[in-house]
Symmetry: C2
Subunit: 335 residues, 2 copies
């Protein structure tokens, strides 16, 4: 049986052009991980979708599910979800809930996607709170950070669960056999940091062989391949994510300006390689781990490549049965 | 009357060479803000200091205060301060306490400097907790971030005081007439973020004309000159500071590697300009605001330029009477 991925065609700054181009790219025969078009359920204004596909010269037979409404990027998530029950985001979530799809991908309003998915799908057995996981391959090796903002505050037990979920994802989807898990802190000793971290540390350490806990990691060491999974609360994680985004853009500008001032014939290609490495949109976006379904939230400004990557991440996460393994991992932890 | 700055000659990765070279640089006649040598009280092993000064060919007449012990960079601050009462750090703090100096500069063990200064000097009238302030001029305009790690946790009232202290510093020492104060958060609305931030926001907003509060700022906007002072709790601040440090070094490596791979004749000078912009050691280090005296903690790996900058920051902070203005600001706030 083919498990579909629902794609919110209407979500994102460049929708529906970028999302549909992304779907086409995900199915391109020269793509080594190409998906069959029937695996991608296009969700949105159906006439607009068909029209755009024709315009793009596509002859692929995607399944399409109509959704008459669109939630804007700047709308209040709670209000918009109530006012627009037939939004493309809500219809994507509904498709997963009904089993018409195993996962969904949206580049739309983050709060609306997280809210609709959390409420609509519920959490997996044993999960206290879902977490947003973002994978970056800064040093060439992927590192998954979580929670990057699903929750504002966390309890020590939540951090333990984030560690477990992140480790399962790294193992199942990114092929890291025994993922090293670090706790983002301001010092290496177990006694460092906030009360939350001081209480979480022994919980993670006590997980023993079930978790390859490597202790505290710091903001200046995470670029040195010290951990495969970096666990933090959603507030700190979101600050970190936005800071990386802002800082990388800023630094690239600075580098370009300086190279120009020194009349260095800088290579656009070289700098765009750097940009790709530090831009998480390139990695297919963020995964909402812990909900009953696979939910991938791409960056609003995703281009077609990023959309195709997000679809690939969703398909891989569905196919590798990550959610079942998360449940089993948490069961073992609480046993 | 000349107010002296006590310099911990023995502190830092490159001490005493870098600290003494820094003192000489701070007094160099071609330095537009040159200090008189009699303003810099050299604290440390006196024979070693005299020997090194001769070796460096100096004929300047610095006052010297002997300290027989040195606290290592990796020592436990609490234990080291107890075991080494005659450490160069403790003697610097003692000099400020006795009034022999108005401020101190150390590149040594951060925990020991903060601990010794907080306990030894006490807090200014009305100050609940001191805060570590770090000034960066990423975009060409200085932005002061605090607290960058003096406290692990903060109360809303602490954030209000940090805002007030940071604004006084920006006005008195960096000449920003009405410093814009932003609260580091994960969204712009007042309702965003942790309980701490949701309670702090109205406190800052209620300060009215006494504080130019511009609301919440985010990690991806702080590089766009949205605020002159960015207020956060010490845990988040320390994570941010270390992340900026790690990420800037990492990105520069990435840029260099890519330019090399594309056989671009990259200019070392251009990239070291970038490095200077993102390296807070260049700005003279961190200021411990709120203690009864001026305390500048430079980065452990400071070179002579950074030490000279730190001495200049300390002298300027002493001369502009920042601490008196902080007291007056807090008095007005609680009136």
């Amino acid at each position: 049986m083919v498990v579909r991925i629902a794609l919110d065609v209407m979500g994102g700054d460049n929708a529906p052009e970028a999302t549909l181009r992304g779907a086409l790219l995900a199915c391109a025969p020269d793509n080594p991980r190409a998906l069959a078009p029937e695996r991608i359920l296009l969700v949105g204004e159906s006439d607009a979708i068909r029209h755009k596909l024709t315009e793009l010269g596509s002859t692929l037979e995607f399944p399409i599910q109509h959704a008459s409404q669109v939630i804007g990027m700047a709308e209040s998530p709670a209000l918009a979800l109530r006012a627009k029950p037939d939004s493309s985001i809500a219809v994507c979530v509904g498709a997963v809930k009904k089993g018409a799809a195993g996962g969904l991908v949206s580049m739309g309003n983050t709060g609306a996607v997280v809210g609709a998915a959390t409420i609509g799908l519920g959490t997996l057995e044993g999960v206290r709170r879902p977490a947003i996981a973002v994978t970056l391959s800064l040093t060439g090796q992927p590192v998954t950070f979580l929670d990057m903002g699903a929750n504002r505050e966390a309890k020590p037990q939540d951090l333990l669960q984030f560690a477990s979920m992140g480790a399962v994802y790294m193992r199942d989807c990114l092929g890291v056999a025994e993922p090293r898990v670090g706790l983002l802190n301001i010092g290496s000793e177990p006694s460092k940091g906030t009360e939350l971290l001081k209480e979480a540390y022994p919980l993670l350490a006590a997980a023993g062989a079930r978790l390859n806990f490597v202790g505290n990691v710091e903001g200046n060491t995470i670029f040195g391949s010290v951990a495969d999974v970096v666990v933090t609360d959603g507030f700190t994680g979101n600050v970190v994510l936005k800071l990386l985004e802002g800082f990388s853009g800023f630094m690239l500008q600075l580098v370009m300006a300086e190279l120009k001032a020194h009349q260095v014939a800088w290579s656009k290609e070289a700098l765009s390689n750097v940009k790709r490495r530090v831009d998480y949109a390139e990695y297919g976006g963020a995964l909402l781990l812990g909900v009953n379904g696979v939910v991938v939230k791409g960056h609003g400004r995703s281009d077609a490549v990023a959309v195709a990557n997000a679809l690939a991440v969703a398909a891989r996460t569905v196919d590798s049965n990550v959610n079942q393994h998360i449940i089993e991992g948490l069961r073992a932890q609480s046993a």
